[in-house]
């Protein structure tokens, strides 16, 4: 059975005009998202994850933002040229967003219930406010908020952080969107609450067949929730594949770096956390050649001259590194990372049995 393609981003480029110059925040990002699937976008701070997700919502402030190129096909329709008015029918309705910080994402002076019914009423012209209220209470119940009737009338400050994030999710689900964009939805929460929120999102996805773009810099979370992973670096996707591709067969040195910098609690081996040396490049003057070259211990001479293309590794797996060129020297995955991967494999096998 072929899954339906819900979102197709082609060569998206987003710039910001600043006093210092033009920041090329997103430099040609492409990916596909299928119905009912989760795509995780990972990458370090400033790699353009949030800009990419805001771009899909068309929430990039213009100015200073500029859609410099590319298309965003949602359900087959390019949304880049849509007007504000047309876009307001898409936002909240077909694409909804979950924000990082639940402490600030809710309006402090509006009752929680109203913040939910607002979306329902906006996108369903025929619904009466009594029906909207009923639906909102059902939603609160769905996202696991006890005593929804009472909670409906409360203000955000009467909720804990985890409960607020549930409210944010309820708002996002209010108009039954096809695509949920979650920009680091659990980063601001403590670990146990994180796990609950992730469970909730998976649960909802199963019930409603929603597609999710899940943004995070925590690879540990990715393995849990995602079907596919896009690794972003300096405004580009450098490796793209299924979770298995990325975790068991990572090909890009930056992905190795990310995997290596993830604390490995399971294998319990005494090893140092590897960090990726250096810092991301200046996006006003992106370097010639590969943006990662300066931080890459495996960099080749060509890396400083010419940007690598996306090499296809398999039907689902792509990486943007010269190391995949047939003429490139064979560089094996560093030992520490290889050990990690071994660990994951064993773990997977054990839990599989």
């Amino acid at each position: 059975m072929m899954k339906k393609k819900l979102l197709e981003v082609n060569d998206l480029q987003i710039n910001f005009k600043t006093y210092a110059g033009i920041v090329q925040a997103v430099r040609g990002v492409s990916f596909d998202l299928y119905e009912g699937e989760t795509l995780a976008i990972v990458g370090e701070s400033g790699s353009g994850k949030s800009v990419t997700s805001n771009a899909i919502m068309k929430l990039i402030p213009q100015p200073p933002g500029i859609y410099a190129g590319g298309e965003i096909l949602f359900d087959g329709r390019d949304i880049v040229p849509l007007t504000e008015k047309e876009m307001s029918k898409v936002r909240g309705n077909e694409i909804a967003m979950i924000f990082q910080d639940p402490m600030t994402a809710l309006n402090p002076t509006m009752r929680v219930g109203k913040q939910i019914t607002e979306v329902i009423l906006k996108h369903n012209k025929k619904v009466t406010s009594a029906e909207a209220k009923e639906r909102a209470i059902k939603l609160l119940d769905l996202v696991g908020i006890p005593m929804p009737e009472k909670r409906f009338r409360q203000y955000p400050h009467e909720f804990s952080g985890g409960m607020r994030q549930r409210v944010v999710i309820a708002i996002a689900l209010a108009a039954d969107p096809k695509l949920l964009i979650a920009d680091e939805p659990t980063t601001a929460l403590d670990v146990t609450i994180q796990a609950q929120i992730l469970e909730l999102m998976k649960d909802i996805q199963k019930k409603r067949n929603t597609s999710i773009i899940f943004i995070t810099h925590d690879l540990g979370v990715v393995a849990n929730v995602a079907d596919r992973v896009a690794v972003m670096y300096a405004g580009q996707i450098v490796e793209y594949g299924t979770v298995n591709d990325i975790f068991y067969n990572p090909r890009h040195p930056y992905t190795w770096g990310l995997l290596g910098s993830m604390p490995d609690l399971k294998n319990n081996e005494k090893e140092e956390l590897r960090t990726i040396p250096g810092s991301p490049p200046d996006l006003i003057h992106p370097p010639k050649g590969d943006a990662f070259a300066a931080r890459n211990e495996f960099a080749l001479a060509i890396d400083y001259e010419k940007e690598p293309p996306m090499f296809k590794i398999s039907d689902t797996h792509y990486a943007k590194t010269w190391l995949l060129h047939p003429d490139a020297p064979q560089i094996p995955i560093p030992d520490a990372i290889q050990k990690r991967i071994q660990g994951y494999l064993e773990e997977a096998e054990n839990s599989g049995k």
Partner: protein
């Protein structure tokens, strides 16, 4: 809530007591007497007058008398205008000042918020520069100068408004504007910066992500939160409007309470000074109380101390 209000009322009483006492001693310290401006009386007459009003008593007896006057809210006859009680003067002139004051407050709040919102919505574009300039001018030009300018150009030269007096609504526009403009400037700046702060906040972005239109977002989400600081300014605004009226009522020859207050001081009309001071104090203290209660109504996060649900 009731407990909170009760507590605040006690504070108001304490504050009033301090104000009355301070006023009393300031009057005692100030040179001159109510009868000084009239032609030289023979000393006997002055002594008689002093005796009649109790001014020959030692200060603690006078102080006690004033406290009793204040508690009973009966300040006695004006020492200057024979036959008119202080209470009459207040009753007669206060409605005028109240009208003027309310008008001034409406203008400052309305104009201020309007300018502030426009400036924020068109951040760093022409309307922003224009309204910010108006706001800065409003803040920096003193009200009496503005009053003079408006009287000269709008009333005298262009004849759009009456120059002075108090015979109807058209007489109130210039003085109310003169009182309001400084505060409108402040409110505009306050609204602008608070609007800008709110519009970059997450929940506003969230409102946009919900698919709400630009204006719905502004009115339903940004504005209400942005106006919270403006509500806190209502207390000082009331005080400002009251003090503003002292000068402006003089300039426009408006027979309001502010004018009486000022002349009573220059006349050393002790009873009227005391009466108006107490009256003004009560109004201001209650204005602050009302603002605090209002604030807790608008912002659900604020619980009045000592208030239980």
């Amino acid at each position: 809530m009731l407990k909170y209000i009760f507590k605040r009322l006690v504070y108001i009483l304490i504050a009033l007591y301090i104000i009355v006492t301070a006023t009393f001693f300031l009057i005692q310290l100030a040179p001159g007497s109510p009868f000084a401006s009239e032609r030289d009386f023979p000393p006997q007459i002055e002594a008689q007058l002093n005796a009649k009003y109790g001014l020959d008593n030692p200060w603690y007896v006078q102080y006690k008398d004033y406290l009793i006057d204040t508690v009973t809210f009966d300040f006695g006859e004006s020492m200057k205008y024979k036959g008119r009680s202080t209470n009459d003067i207040i009753a007669e002139s206060f409605p005028i000042s109240l009208t003027l004051g309310i008008e001034a407050m409406l203008i400052s709040v309305g104009l201020g918020i309007l300018l502030g919102v426009i400036a924020a919505l068109y951040h760093n574009r022409f309307p922003d520069y224009l309204s910010s300039t108006i706001a800065v001018l409003g803040i920096s030009v003193p009200s009496f100068i503005l009053a003079g300018l408006m009287q000269y150009f709008l009333a005298f030269k262009l004849d759009l408004f009456p120059v002075s007096g108090w015979k109807g609504f058209s007489y109130s526009i210039l003085p109310a504007t003169a009182i309001a403009i400084t505060h409108a400037g402040f409110i505009a700046k306050l609204t602008r910066s608070s609007m800008l702060e709110q519009s970059s906040s997450d929940y506003v972005k969230m409102a946009r992500a919900k698919g709400l239109g630009k204006w719905t977002t502004v009115f339903k989400h940004t504005l209400r939160n942005a106006l919270l600081p403006v509500v806190t300014y209502l207390g000082p605004l009331t005080a400002g409007v009251v003090t503003g009226s002292f000068i402006i009522e003089q300039i426009f020859a408006i027979p309001g309470l502010g004018k009486h207050f000022v002349t009573s001081i220059t006349n050393r009309d002790y009873t009227v000074i005391m009466g108006t001071t107490v009256f003004y104090s009560i109004i201001l203290l209650f204005a602050v109380l009302i603002v605090d209660i209002l604030y807790s109504v608008i912002d659900p996060r604020i619980k009045l101390k000592g208030a239980k649900k």
